[in-house]
């Protein structure tokens, strides 16, 4: 008998538990979930209310460079946007209707109850873009140093969007030694 045929005679099947394949798949799916998980978004998502969500979305894109996450948009049966998400860098913000979940747009409330800080790479360029889009500037560009034990130099400006929400844009400049 040829060597190869002899080797073939030692081929023997193993008997498996029926659940063996399911357990193997669970191992694979856990690895897949781990890769997918970071894409699910950040842990904290501020929800910002607007009277006109559609106008807010195009404004935020034009003026600040935020991008809508297309798969996140919720539209009601009559075609009105109920909720949307925008992203910038690794940050995400929810855009919801005024009055829902107790959230009030400054346009009708008359006050801003908070502001949102956004870190950008080039705050001067960002400022020019925002001004060109007709943003109201609450505080113009300025440099400042802040900190407790360590100090950081930032360049910032503050803008009010179309419904009066306040946004503060920062560019981190450098760490400042205490001797300065």
């Amino acid at each position: 008998m040829k060597p190869l045929d002899l080797a073939k005679k030692l081929r023997r099947e193993a008997a498996f538990e029926p659940a063996a394949l399911d357990r193997g798949k669970a191992v694979l799916m856990a690895a897949i979930r781990q890769e997918v998980a970071p894409k699910r978004g950040p842990t904290i998502v501020p929800q910002v209310p607007y009277q006109d969500i559609s106008a807010a979305l195009s404004f935020l894109e034009r003026a600040f460079g935020f991008r809508e996450i297309p798969t996140a948009r919720l539209v009601s049966a009559d075609g009105v946007i109920d909720h949307a998400m925008v992203e910038f860098g690794d940050g995400v913000i929810g855009i919801g209707p005024h009055g829902h979940h107790g959230a009030i747009s400054p346009k009708s409330g008359g006050i801003e109850s908070q502001y949102i800080s956004v870190y950008v790479d080039d705050v001067d360029a960002h400022y020019q873009r925002a001004v060109a889009a007709g943003v109201r500037i609450a505080n113009g560009l300025r440099d400042y140093v802040w900190g407790d034990r360590t100090y950081e130099a930032h360049r910032t400006y503050e803008a009010l969007d179309l419904e009066g929400h306040r946004w503060r844009f920062h560019q981190w400049i450098r760490e400042v030694p205490q001797s300065e």
Binding site: L4, A14, G24, K25, I32, V36
Partner: protein, 188 residues
């Protein structure tokens, strides 16, 4: 073709990782049986998920010109099995005893049965003593019925190298087995 090839599924899984689940559904049973033949059910059950996890993590390196992922999966499995050589050797010797027993129960002449009891343990020993590369090529070819092309894809070798490896493995086996019955069985 309405049925997406493995290459297309793996390509899609780069953007949609969940799509890789389909590669498992298509090939896990084949791969599990392969691992089982080599290292037994218990080891195989522990390795099959690990094998596909490794494949998933390396999916960017899959050659999209290959329609089937199976030879690639065999290759990952072959590497994993290297850590289970002892178990594999044990199983091979047990298989040899069983093969000899089958021949004996065949009701043939007792001389043939005696030969079988001598012969098969020697086959097992001979397979065991092949260099890793030759043993792997031989077992993928003889037990898994892979073509030269597929053995080459599994072991990442050109087809000419597969051919020469299998020829060397055959020659080694012939040499190690010698003329049946004229050599003493090596004990282990």
């Amino acid at each position: 073709m309405s049925f997406p090839s493995d290459a297309e599924v793996i390509g899609r899984s780069l953007g949609e990782p969940e799509a890789f689940g389909l590669i498992y559904d298509r090939h896990a049973a084949t791969v599990l049986r392969f691992l089982g033949r080599r290292a037994g059910a218990e080891v195989a059950e522990g390795l099959v998920g690990e094998l596909f996890r490794i494949a998933f993590e390396r999916r960017k390196t899959f050659d999209s010109n290959r329609p089937s992922a199976l030879p690639w999966l065999y290759g990952i499995g072959s590497n994993l099995l290297l850590k289970h050589r002892r178990g594999e050797a044990r199983r091979l010797r047990a298989s040899a005893r069983m093969a000899a027993g089958r021949e004996a129960a065949d009701g043939r002449a007792s001389a043939a049965a005696l030969d079988a009891r001598v012969l098969f343990p020697r086959v097992a020993d001979a397979i065991e003593s092949l260099p890793d590369g030759e043993r792997e090529a031989l077992l993928l070819f003889a037990w898994e019925d892979l073509s030269y092309q597929s053995v080459g894809e599994a072991l990442e070798l050109p087809i000419g190298t597969v051919r020469s490896r299998l020829n060397r493995a055959r020659a080694h086996l012939r040499e190690l087995l010698g003329p049946v019955g004229k050599r003493r069985v090596r004990s282990r």
